[in-house]
């Protein structure tokens, strides 16, 4: 959470994250080029680097894509989410190295402009086995560039969250283009079944985790709750909420996080203003509801971030009766203070 913008708000966790990432990339590339030069003794260093960076980018894209659903399934993976942007930008750089080397090696030595050559050197669009796979990779690279260039809170704030979110959902389009690029490119020439099996396994993990996490979210959305006479909805028992934590309920189609802290109960929207993180899966730290994704904070009774920050989420009217928590499903304005309900 930041009030002014810096290029990167470094802290110890981000440094450790990036060090582990750089070490992993170095080891991967060294192993790939080293083993590749032994197994394919005829391959040039340029070819090994093109394939090494391409494989690295594909592997990193799979990791980037599974972090989200893993965190929905278990909070143990939240440390991976914290600095996912750096992983995404580094993945783009690996893809750029792959694309740059490829364009130079295969398209830069003729008379045509290399970028034009990518599109006109093969026009067999009707053939699956000879399909021009390189433009697919180039389109994916353009999407990854747009995402990497806007992976900063400055752009999140200036594009506004809905536009930024839509732009970054294009990662799935980029994934589809890259999988097609690999299937119609290298996997047409390299017939070793292990390569196809590895790609299939990667796809199965990405889609399997997304669908399992999505199914769990759907069940939560569809829970039916009993309404009291005055439209207040019975959400849970007071005893069911751990201290300084929340229970999450879906009311009128939207999720509400009901927090218990210091003998009081408050309800705010479950959706963080930063990147739609699940506030109800966070906890109260220093008197503030703290988003588990990136640490954005809100006061539980008003839904407003403490000064000088300006983020606000809607609050909900609440009361406790017979040990049960009852919530009015109609949200108040973002930042509107609601008197917390005493536990007893």
């Amino acid at each position: 959470m930041s009030h002014t913008y810096t290029s990167i708000g470094w802290n110890r966790q981000k440094r450790v994250y990036d060090l582990v990432m750089v070490a992993g990339i170095t080891v991967f590339l060294a192993l790939f080029v080293g083993l590749g030069s032994v197994v394919h003794s005829n391959a040039t260093i340029e070819t090994l680097l093109i394939r090494g960076f391409g494989t690295l980018a594909l592997l990193m894209l799979h990791v980037v894509l599974i972090i989200g659903p893993l965190c929905r399934l278990s909070p143990q993976f939240l440390p991976l989410l914290y600095n996912r942007r750096h992983l995404g930008v580094t993945m783009f750089l690996a893809a750029l190295a792959h694309g740059g080397f490829s364009i130079f090696q295969f398209h830069a030595l003729g008379e045509l402009n290399p970028l034009v050559s990518v599109f006109v050197s093969n026009t067999r669009y009707a053939s699956l086995s000879n399909f021009p796979f390189q433009p697919l990779g180039l389109f994916a690279l353009i999407i990854l560039f747009l995402m990497a260039a806007t992976s900063h809170d400055f752009w999140l704030a200036n594009l506004a969250a809905p536009v930024w979110k839509r732009l970054h959902m294009l990662v799935y389009v980029a994934y589809a283009l890259i999988v097609a690029h690999v299937l119609l490119g290298v996997l047409q020439a390299e017939t070793n079944p292990i390569l196809a099996a590895l790609l299939g396994l990667g796809m199965a993990i990405v889609f399997g985790l997304h669908l399992v996490a999505g199914y769990r979210e759907q069940r939560l959305d569809e829970e039916v709750r009993a309404e009291a006479a005055d439209d207040y909805v019975d959400v849970c028992g007071v005893d069911e909420i751990p201290e300084k934590r929340a229970c999450i309920a879906t009311l009128a189609g939207e999720r509400v996080a009901v927090f218990k802290y210091d003998g009081k109960i408050s309800a705010i929207s479950n959706v963080c203003q930063h990147q739609n993180g699940p506030l109800g899966e966070g906890q109260i730290i220093d008197g503030c509801v703290t988003c588990p994704w990136h640490g954005y904070q809100y006061l539980p009774e008003s839904g407003a971030s403490p000064p000088p920050f300006t983020e606000k989420v809607p609050t909900f009217n609440i009361r406790v009766a017979n040990g049960r928590v009852l919530v009015d499903p109609r949200p108040n304005k973002p930042g509107e203070r609601v008197e917390p309900a005493p536990v007893s």
């Binding site: 086995s129 996997l187 999505g214």
Partner: protein, 52 residues
């Protein structure tokens, strides 16, 4: 609003999974057979220095 996004996201992932699995199978089926070393009849192989 957020719920709608979640529903849309689920549908998008399902559609993408079906499309890519179909492409995966089709691309492997359409793959050209692996190149093999051509069998050349011995009679056609000329040893260097040997007269025809």
């Amino acid at each position: 609003m957020i719920r709608l996004l979640r529903v849309r996201h689920r549908w998008m992932i399902t559609l993408l999974a079906v499309t890519l699995i179909a492409l995966f199978i089709a691309s492997l089926v359409a793959r050209k057979p692996a190149p093999v070393t051509p069998h050349i009849p011995e009679a056609l192989i000329r040893v260097e220095g040997e007269k025809r």
